[in-house]
């Protein structure tokens, strides 16, 4: 399946040989072979989770490969840290930037390598060296500015200057234009081209297929941690790239969907919801129905989930539950508490940050949201609590040694089931599950699918957010595809195909036929 890199470039700057990488049981890369030509712009494309960022991180020493070799100029190397990679001329510019906001642009660029004498900064030398550097890169960016005040595009320039000042020969850029607007994108593209003209190699991780086609010399398409192919960008179109990204090598099995009658009552109704990252979203969810919410990372799916759950303040629009209970208007400041009371529950995207009470016991974690029913005059009724938690743990199949063990000692899959247990105890009529299978093993995934299906059989409606398109296709009755905070497409029945979801998510003008 894998084609070793060609060709047009005399020598490989970096080569990956049979590289594999897993994150806690989830395989991110599998036997990847890749050559990146010196002085080329090499793009990595693929769906969320296809492994493109992982490749970038391995090249730049952020994470080590589990297996396989990394060759730099034909010589095997092993980077222990990004610092190692930098000392060999490889720099990663990540999506989250790492500038010191209180320092000036020039000070940021030379951070750690400032010209100094006896511990004192030589300001004049600093500003002279900055102008030289900015001149070679062709940037018009004053070194005196406060870095914290820069626009994102200029911060990106700063990061590039910093990379150049460290004599970077290869720069990995992870979604460099994701946060930029039109003119800034064009400017950044010009910068990237100029870099390669002076001999720098650029590895471009990008979701934007148009950008990739415009910029890249070569494109590597990844799917499920495998390389589909590496080709010259010249002969490719958005459709040909999309088609290569489609299809799955491994097919998981999904439980049979429950039938939803056309007269099933609406349990959740969202109208014109506007909140940070979400603009004017409307949809209905019926009893017994699973609606999949698809889209790229940053499309606004999690923001929508949080807005519906009242975890964010909403700017406009309404969220109503069955029986016409309106959340946004009546419980303005009620937050998640009001949502839960009205029968709306959410499993948050980030288990660690938004879900688990790490060092508290399994029992406390599960009963947390239902203590309102498990007390008498404010005193927790411990025996009913233990019994209820026990039943629920059995229902979601959490394997814990005891209810008293700390929740963070559980495996990822069990932690996720524990959060399900917490929310199911509240007997929700609507459940929002945000990436419920992220970072859990195959067995736990299957168990979570069963759980979701069982819930719908009991008449709950589920809004399922997932970056795994296959999961959405396998479970959902209907699919909403989000792009830039809005619903770009609604698909149901035969329309629900990977091609349709992806092209709506990427905003491709024509649907790629598979």
């Amino acid at each position: 399946m894998t084609t070793p890199g060609p060709s047009r470039f005399q020598s490989a700057h970096v080569e990956l040989r049979d590289v594999s990488k897993s994150f806690g049981g989830a395989r991110a890369l599998e036997g990847v072979n890749l050559q990146i030509g010196r002085g080329s712009i090499h793009a990595l494309v693929g769906e969320n989770g296809a492994g493109k960022s992982t490749v970038g991180k391995i090249i730049s020493g952020v994470i080590p490969p589990d297996r396989g070799q990394l060759l730099l100029g034909g010589e095997p190397v092993r980077f222990r840290s990004p610092r190692d990679a930098i000392s060999r001329g490889i720099v990663l510019i990540a999506q989250e930037m790492s500038i010191v906001p209180s320092l000036s642009v020039a000070e940021n660029v030379f951070l750690g390598t400032e010209p100094r004498q006896a511990g004192f900064l030589r300001r004049r030398a600093l500003s002279r060296r900055y102008s030289e550097l900015a001149g070679t890169a062709g940037f018009e960016l004053s070194g005196e500015l406060n870095a914290g005040r820069l626009r994102t595009a200029d911060q990106q320039k700063l990061e590039i200057l910093r990379a150049l000042c460290r004599n970077a020969e290869l720069i990995v850029m992870d979604e460099p234009t994701a946060a930029l607007s039109g003119p800034d994108v064009a400017a950044l593209h010009e910068v990237i081209r100029r870099l390669t003209r002076s001999g720098t190699t650029v590895v471009l991780v990008s979701h934007l297929l148009g950008e990739v086609l415009q910029l890249a010399d070569e494109v590597t398409i990844l799917r499920d941690g495998h390389i589909v192919r590496t080709t010259a960008a010249a002969g490719q179109t958005e459709e040909s790239l999309l088609n290569a990204m489609l299809g799955r090598s491994v097919s998981a099995t999904f439980p049979a969907r429950q039938r939803v009658g056309p007269d099933a009552p609406v349990v959740l109704s969202v109208r014109g919801l506007t909140a940070p990252g979400v603009s004017g979203v409307s949809f209905d969810l019926r009893a017994g129905e699973i609606v999949g919410l698809a889209g790229l990372v940053g499309a606004g799916r999690t923001e929508l989930a949080r807005a519906v759950y009242q975890a964010h303040r909403t700017a406009a629009g309404t969220v109503s539950l069955a029986g016409g209970e309106r959340l946004t208007r009546r419980h303005r400041a009620g937050g998640p508490r009001a949502a839960l009371r009205a029968g709306l529950a959410m499993i948050p995207e980030s288990r660690k940050e938004h879900g688990l009470l790490p060092r508290r016991s399994v029992r406390e974690n599960v009963s947390l949201a239902s203590l309102g029913q498990l007390n008498r005059a404010g005193i927790v009724r411990r025996r009913p609590e233990r019994r209820t938690v026990e039943q629920m743990l059995r229902r979601v199949d959490v394997r814990a040694r005891s209810q008293a063990m700390p929740a963070d000692a559980l495996s990822g899959g069990n932690q996720q089931k524990l959060l399900f247990a917490r929310m199911l105890l509240c007997q929700p009529r609507v459940l929002i599950a945000d990436e419920p299978t992220r970072g859990v093993d195959v067995g736990a995934k299957r168990a979570i699918y069963e759980l979701l299906t069982t819930l719908t059989a009991d008449g709950a409606g589920i809004l399922l957010i997932s970056s795994e398109v296959e999961e959405i296709i396998g479970l959902a009755h209907r699919v909403l595809v989000m792009r830039t905070g809005q619903i770009a497409a609604e698909l149901s029945g035969d329309e629900v195909t990977e091609a349709a979801i992806l092209s709506a998510a990427f905003g491709a003008t024509e649907r790629g036929a598979s």
Binding site: E353, G378, I379
Partner: protein, 335 residues
């Protein structure tokens, strides 16, 4: 900058078997059982070394002296567990003491006592509002409040010692004996037991742990995190005031310089030495009781054995570092 190792020459550390690390488990075990072992050891050592240590008089005396510290520390444990910190307890203690002593000169003692405690509750409420409504870091908020409250105490006294010898009934609060134990000790036992029950058995207690363990997770689970935090500050203010009033009643006098920062830090030291995490989400009242008494025993031991009291502070500082270090280290290891 270190050069990356070439793959061909690497691999030297891989051959060595890494032994399992008992220190991590030992540390966790020490932290869980924690303070109880050093406390028992110290207790036995003092009983053997000094004839006057293990006597009813001395032990009751320790409890009586520590009554206010124990009450304040028990309430402070709630604040810490819910993810905050209260540095204003010393000043609140002083303010409540001088207000009660001052009022007792003109109104019935019971009213004076209630007024003192009410002032403490009010200070706690202000602390809580600053921290939860205005979202100011509790360390800074309560530090600032400690100056304000301390200043108010000086205003009340005009810089003088308030003497209430002429109203001995004010002393009944602390000095009445019941079953040969002072009422100050009884008050402490009741207050601490009440706080312990709230923390261990009530929904409010659970929410305190949840708020300190992961505030956002608690909020998403429907817990009113800010309300819970606010309550812990109110309880802490009330407890500090109760302590101040008890001590003023014991000596029938009060001044603005009572307590001050020393009390605040003794309270915090007791809580932390007991094993309650300064990072929130973990801890227990019994820990705090043992922690405070442990520190008291060290002081008592220095007195009884006639050691140079200068070393007492150094010992205390060392123990505090050890307690915080164990906490941080065990978190690192178990991550």
């Amino acid at each position: 900058m270190s050069r990356p190792e070439l793959a061909g020459t690497a691999g030297s550390p891989e051959g060595k078997a890494i032994p399992r690390q008992p220190p991590a488990e030992l540390l966790t075990g020490l932290r869980r059982g924690g303070i109880i072992f050093p406390f028992l050891v110290l207790f036995v050592v003092l009983s053997v070394a000094s004839g006057s240590f293990f006597t009813k008089v001395n032990l009751l005396d320790i409890l009586d002296q520590q009554a206010s510290t124990l009450i304040i520390a028990a309430a402070g444990t709630l604040v810490l567990i819910a993810g905050g910190i209260d540095l204003s307890v010393g000043a609140t203690y002083a303010l409540a003491g001088v207000i009660a002593a001052d009022l007792t000169l003109s109104v019935p003692p019971l009213l004076a006592i209630l007024a003192g405690v009410a002032v403490g509750l009010a200070v706690g409420l202000v602390n809580g509002v600053i921290v939860t409504v205005f979202r100011i870091n509790s360390l800074i908020a309560t530090l600032a409040m400690s100056f304000v409250v301390g200043g108010l105490a000086s205003l009340v006294t005009g810089g003088n010692l308030i003497i209430a010898y002429s109203h001995p009934s004010f002393a009944d609060l602390a000095r009445t004996t019941f079953l040969s134990v002072n009422t100050s000790t009884w008050t402490m036992v009741i207050a601490v037991a009440l706080i312990a029950v709230v923390l261990a058995r009530t929904t409010a207690g659970r929410y305190m742990y949840a708020a300190g363990s992961n505030a956002e997770a608690a909020r998403l689970a429907g817990v009113r995190v800010q309300m819970i935090k606010l309550v812990t500050f109110v309880v802490s203010g009330g407890a500090a005031a109760l302590g101040g009033v008890i001590d003023a009643s014991r000596v029938l006098s009060a001044q603005a310089s009572n307590g001050e920062t020393t009390l605040t830090f003794t309270v915090l030291a007791g809580i932390v030495v007991g094993g309650t995490s300064i990072l929130g989400g973990e801890g227990a009242i019994w820990r705090t009781v043992v922690g405070v008494l442990f520190i008291a025993l060290i002081g008592n031991g220095y007195d009884l054995l006639g050691l140079n009291p200068l070393y007492e502070q150094i010992t205390l500082g060392g123990i505090l570092l050890l307690a915080v270090g164990t906490d941080a280290w065990s978190r690192l290891r178990t991550g």
